[in-house]
């Protein structure tokens, strides 16, 4: 199962290289019509990379297939393993992705400090920290300290939204 991952990875890289050549480069790279020397064209370098990825992807597929035939396992996912982990990894990952997306959408409305307080609090809930009081204090203090440093010391205008404007 682990080695199939390597074969799939190699196949995906090869397919990506092909799609670069066939779709992405023609669509995404503009080249002027008066390029006299082909190696100076804006298309040249991306095409070289695309061909390189195709070649490396194919080698990866062949290597992984030969290894599977020889009964060798590939690299394991480093984040699976012993039972010390909290159950529920299968939903924590997508939940954290959704949180990040919602956070980004919330910034213009709530402002970065308040959105960060909410993000932190929800992340602490997600990882089920045992230190609830400290977590609550951290969720409030860390964004405020970050806001204080960047806005007042470094002079970076942190977006504040409409609900509450910090001094």
């Amino acid at each position: 199962m682990r080695l199939n991952r390597d074969i799939l990875f190699g196949g995906a890289v090869t397919l990506f290289g092909v799609s670069l050549l066939v779709f992405l480069i023609p669509l995404g790279v503009a080249s002027p019509s008066n390029v006299r020397v082909p190696v100076l064209s804006p298309l040249f370098w991306p095409r070289i990379i695309a061909w390189t990825l195709i070649g490396l992807g194919l080698v990866q597929v062949v290597q992984a297939a030969l290894a599977q035939r020889a009964g060798r396992t590939g690299a394991a996912d480093p984040d699976t393993g012993d039972g010390a982990a909290l159950p529920g990894a299968w939903w924590r990952l997508p939940a954290s992705a959704v949180l990040m997306a919602l956070y980004w959408v919330a910034i213009p409305r709530l402002g970065m400090p308040i959105a960060s307080v909410l993000l932190l609090a929800l992340l602490f809930l997600l990882v089920r920290t045992r230190y609830r009081l400290i977590a609550l204090a951290t969720a409030i203090l860390v964004p405020l300290v970050m806001f204080g440093f960047f806005d007042h010391v470094a002079g970076v205008p942190i977006p504040q939204g409409h609900l509450l404007r910090l001094p």
Partner: protein
């Protein structure tokens, strides 16, 4: 300006409280970050980078160098006390450091780690000062073809940072080269992969990519598996390092320092191999070799001298040639560029005072490391007690603010999230992120010098072989690739034979 003029100007830059404070803060941050398992010196340097924007160039770069040096030493503290290296460079320190801690000699082991680190650091800095100028003056004769072949050779450092899978490292590098093409074309100014989005016309910001790739995957991995326990922290005990013990191991420390300097000056090798090589040489030459691995003080001295000997030396190719010696110096190149400086031989002509200021600052950093390290050894218990369930989410917020500060752009925050998940995907399929980053940084330099060469020669590839310097770099590139291929084939054969 004469050398004395430059040195005087440099001293004026460094001998300000703001420069020394930046350096001191960097060392403190680095030691703390290096001492926290799960954070690395690389991550610490990446996270510190946004904070340097508002600083003067010399202050910003000294801050980052302080974090680098502090981080490399800081990793030895948990390596000795809880058998968990804080950074990969401290892996060899576990071998004898933790057994010493189990015997109640943790304080002695930590003191030896500190003194060996500071001694090696000083030797490394002196090597940097002696060799960089010479190499930079040689590099003044480089033109675009020579730089192209040099950077092509430098890409082979990807092999050194690819870990177990060279092929996956190469694929990661290819993706990094591709991502570096996003933006406006260097010669014609046309759009490449911008898809008419104005946010992409300037390319993807290096800091955003860096923090996304190196900091976020660790946080995401923790969210997936929120493991809190790190193990028992050993007490320091009441045994201290004596001057006689330091003197007895002085030769080992010097040997390790030289190994660190030589390996550090070669792009791509890094601190961890230097630490292990120094350790194995010390064991080979030691009268107490039977005791290595069971709590031998010389083992701790050797590994720490090896890894800290690298720090100053990795700056030799950076300052002299503009080529990073390892991933951390690749990040520091970005810091130079952010402040409008281009490291390399031209910098010796245009900004020699900054180079000499860095030299002076680095000497001071060795002394600061001694002071900060002594305190950090006693304070580690408090660092180790910071719950990871509180630390990692907080680091995410730090990343967000830091990335936003780069360009005041929410697009960068979104890009950081995307790169973070991409970096996590690379982690899951065991594709190392370091080659991606190195290729991302070197890719534009490679393409730029290639196209300048083609402009000079009107498209003739022969210009890339125009001088003995280009032949030399082509030669070492081919030799390196050949050696890598041979070792990969040997590794495959031995795994077939063993499996």
């Amino acid at each position: 300006m004469s050398f004395l003029d430059h040195a005087g100007s440099a001293l004026a830059l460094v001998a300000q409280w703001s420069s020394l404070l930046s350096l001191a803060i960097g060392v403190v941050v680095g030691v703390i970050a290096g001492a926290i398992p799960g954070m690395s010196a690389t991550m610490a340097v990446a996270l510190t980078l946004p904070f340097t924007f508002s600083l003067q160039p010399i202050q910003g770069i000294l801050l980052l160098l302080g974090v680098y040096k502090g981080g490399i030493f800081g990793g030895s503290i948990p390596a000795i006390l809880i058998k968990t290296p804080g950074t990969p460079a401290s892996s060899a320190t576990v071998l004898d450091g933790y057994p010493m801690a189990e015997q109640g000699k943790a304080g002695k082991a930590l003191s030896m780690a500190l003194f060996a680190s500071c001694t090696a650091d000083m030797i490394s800095n002196l090597s940097l000062i002696l060799f960089t100028g010479w190499l930079a003056s040689f590099a003044l004769s480089f033109g675009p073809p020579e730089f192209f072949t040099l950077i092509l050779f430098s890409l082979t450092i990807i092999a050194g940072v690819s870990g177990d899978s060279l092929l996956k490292g190469a694929i990661g590098a290819g993706l990094g080269l591709l991502l570096a093409t996003v933006g406006l074309d260097l010669v014609y100014g046309t759009n490449r992969f911008t898809f008419d989005d104005p946010n992409l016309m300037g390319g993807l910001n290096f800091i955003v990519v860096l923090i996304g790739l190196f900091a976020l995957p660790e946080i995401i991995a923790f969210v997936r598996r929120p493991v809190e326990d790190l193990g028992t922290v050993r007490a320091l005990g009441d045994q201290h390092l004596s001057f006689a013990e330091y003197r007895q191991n002085f030769r080992t420390i010097i040997r390790g320092s030289v190994i660190g300097v030589v390996l550090g000056a070669i792009p791509g090798i890094g601190a961890a191999p230097a630490a292990f090589l120094s350790y194995s040489e010390a064991r080979r030459k030691s009268k107490n070799r039977a005791n290595f691995g069971k709590g031998e003080l010389e083992g701790v001295a050797a590994s720490e001298a090896g890894n800290n000997g690298v720090c100053g030396a990795t700056l030799i190719p950076l300052l002299a040639l503009g080529v990073p010696g390892d991933v951390i110096t690749a990040i520091i190149i970005g810091a130079f560029m952010i402040h409008g400086l281009q490291p390399g031989p031209a910098m010796f002509a245009a900004n020699a005072n900054i180079i000499y200021a860095l030299f002076i600052g680095l000497i001071a950093s060795s002394l600061l490391l001694l002071a900060v390290g002594s305190v950090a050894i006693r304070g580690f218990r408090y660092v180790a007690d910071v719950p990871r369930s509180l630390l990692f989410p907080s680091v995410l917020v730090l990343c967000i603010f830091g990335v936003y500060a780069v360009n005041n752009s929410l697009f960068d925050v979104a890009l950081m999230f995307v790169m973070g998940w991409f970096g996590y995907l690379l982690r899951v399929i065991a594709v190392p992120a370091a080659p991606f980053l190195v290729a991302y940084i070197l890719g534009p330099l490679l393409e730029d010098n290639f196209r300048q060469s083609m402009l000079m020669s009107q498209g003739s590839m022969g210009i890339l072989f125009r001088s003995p310097i280009t032949w030399f770099f082509w030669g070492v590139t081919v030799l390196t690739l050949g050696a890598l291929a041979r070792s990969a084939i040997r590794a495959r054969r031995s795994s077939i034979a063993g499996g």
